[in-house]
């Protein structure tokens, strides 16, 4: 007896498309297409269904197909003063953003996008639908496969539908910029959404009710600006927040998220190696959840 909500027609079609035979590659908007390596040639390209299927403003949850763009999702949510803070290219699909699993630039306040996922329905290697998590804002029923799927590059299953937590759109948003010690600024502020630093200039994003934004801004000697700077898109590193203090070498362009540890580079970066036991666990997961290696072949999380 599965009493969770009924399955939408396009989801069933998506599952049938994936089927149980042959290599498949799921295509979104190709905004982060080369992360983890390009798909193997010869695999069938399949798109996940798009559409916001239900938005319950009083529950602050939204359910949509994985192929929905972030723009479409937030257009729907904003009708009720809500948002899903996926601060990525708005053309990216929700499923693609989750499969890649990179957080947005307001992570300091809103956490990893992983933490906004309540339920995922995915298609497994045999073409069957699997539901994990639950539709409510809080849930610990069963293993947390949702978190496992986020950042899995579709290697463990193809995300079909997600239920996400929405947040209220803040009353006021303000961006400041100037020069200053970003680490001191971080310690000065109360849970700011974003502090960015390129080794020279600092940008601070503030949100909340007007008086709070003003009082926080008054603590800093920075000038108002319209928006955050463009993010370099050549490469990305994930460092301990305190290691950002060591980023003084300005031979290449970078922009660091203070307090978070993400650094955006203009040039490609080498991924961090995995420990042996973790590599083994990850291989065990792959060979159990996709024994024939047919889901998104070519992409790699576990380097051999």
């Amino acid at each position: 007896m599965n009493t969770q909500h009924s399955v939408e027609e396009p989801i069933l079609k998506y599952a049938a498309d994936i089927g149980s035979l042959g290599p498949v590659t799921i295509v979104g908007s190709r905004t982060q297409w080369d992360v983890g390596g390009l798909p193997s040639p010869g695999s069938r390209e399949i798109r996940a269904p798009a559409g916001v299927w239900s938005h319950q403003p009083e529950e602050m949850t939204v359910r949509c197909g994985a192929g929905t763009s972030i723009r479409e999702l937030n257009e729907e949510c904003s009708r009720f003063g809500q948002m899903v803070p996926f601060d990525l290219n708005p053309e990216a699909t929700v499923g693609g953003a989750l499969a890649v699993g990179r957080s947005g630039f307001r992570r300091l306040r809103y956490g990893h996008i992983r933490d906004l996922v309540l339920q995922i329905r995915h298609v497994d290697h045999s073409g069957l639908l699997v539901t994990s998590g639950g539709p409510t804002v809080k849930n610990v029923s069963g293993y947390d496969l949702c978190r496992l799927l986020v950042g899995s590059l579709g290697k463990l299953g193809c995300i079909a539908e997600v239920t996400l937590r929405c947040l209220p759109i803040p009353e006021t948003t303000l961006w400041l910029t100037g020069t200053g010690d970003p680490f001191e600024i971080y310690n000065e502020l109360y849970r700011p959404p974003s502090i960015l630093w390129d080794g020279d200039q600092v940008w601070v994003g503030l949100e909340g009710v007007k008086s709070d934004v003003e009082s926080q801004a008054a603590l800093l000697k920075l000038d108002q600006t319209d928006s955050p700077p463009p993010f370099p898109e050549g490469g990305r590193r994930s460092l301990e927040p305190k290691a950002l203090r060591g980023l003084v070498e300005r031979s290449e362009g970078w922009l660091a998220e203070i307090g978070v540890g993400v650094v955006h580079y203009t040039t490609p970066q080498v991924p961090e190696p995995l420990s042996d036991p973790n590599k083994r666990l990850m291989s065990e997961l792959e060979c159990r959840l996709d024994p024939r290696g047919r889901l998104n072949p070519g992409r790699q999380l576990v380097a051999t």
Partner: protein, 479 residues
Amino acid sequence: MVPVSPDKPLLDELRSIIGDRARAGDFELGLYGKDGSVLEGRPSIVCLPVSTEEVQQIVGACRRHERPFIARGSGTGLAGGAVPVGDPVVIATAKMNKIIEVDLDNRVAWVEPGVLNLDLTTQLKPLGFHFAPDPSSQQVCSIGGNVATNSGGPHCLAYGVTSSHVAAIEVVLPDGTVTLLGDLTPEPAGYDLRGLFIGSEGTMGIATKIAVRLTQNPPEVRTLLLDFSDVRDGAAAVSAIIAEGLIPAALEMMDHRAIEVVEAFVNAGYPTEADAVLLVELDGLAGGVASGVEIVRRVADAHRVGNVRVAADDAERALLWKGRKNAFGAVARIKPDYYLHDTVVPRGKLVEVLEKVYRIADEYDLIAINVFHAGDGNLHPILAYDAREPGVLERVHAAGKAIITASIEAGGVLSGEHGIGLEKRDYMGMLFSEHDMTTQDLVREAFDPDGFANPLKVLPSGSRCSDSFGQHVPEGAWV
């Protein structure tokens, strides 16, 4: 009491590792057969390690002797997750209770699993930080236990549950390997094994060190107690507050009976004549808190609120929270035993499901008391009873099942924060299909192919290989 003769060679080996901290005395074994739930089992041996190396060696010894093992923190879990079934060795991590390092630059603290949740927050207070998950058992539950069950608490409404506050976990895997899941960086390479491990209730290994994220203490806090003469008005006010786009730090509700038992314990001046109270906390910067208080007052007025009491100082705040956090234990003032449930329903269905809960309790001739995290729809109906009354347990279990069914029918889930453990594993099929559960079992298998770690928990037996150590919950497991 039938004396269990412990596996002598295993006991000898364990003694060679941890000396007299491997226990097999009749009386003492009985103490590790229970957690905070009504379920009971019995371990074959109890181990009290003090280091990762000892845990690793104990797990190794268990493997050599083909004995399952089960980790235990403070033993306050409410779903029987730490109840030993299948004759396992209990590995109690309570003695591993050091705060290893507070790393303010990374805003994390490395702790051992036995550190008590509130102890960490108390130690962090002078530094201006805290550990956000705050289950009602916060003064006694361990952080290892929080990780195992992905604990919540009143303040997870605004701050999120344990998974959002743990950066990395050192784990002894079921095969005895030690590894670090996650790290202090924002996007660790590979799959999110850390996220998967959190909430896996000890079935994927034993946490031996945890890096928890530190949350800034809010500069401003306001706590309000609103009383309603009709519980339905209170529940409707909850939905209305959230619909206003306000997410309070906490939004708790207590019904009439709960108010009575709590007031008898804390004398906090809870309005004992009210049908329900809401405990609302707003925190953050001054402006947001002030506007939040206004919204709460306005919405409450529109829902026929009686009195609005704003805590004047920290002492009054602490008193109001003391009542809330001790509510479950205080139920014993009505009846000696209670069964505490934990389901989540959409906020909009609170009124409907609450009414069903009262009807179900009447039908089974039990007393239902409701104290719960209303803001996220997390119900905690308490069924109070006296276990010495013949036949009462059957009624309690039947009523419990009816409550779970009602919650799921309303679009809810099995558990909001207590976990599945032993208590709800056979109800998993109400929420998940066979294939969903098979997939979950495959994931567990990747960590523990032979089913050594906390067997018979989370997934119903029969969903693949989790039945290595017996088919069903042993008869004696029910008190």
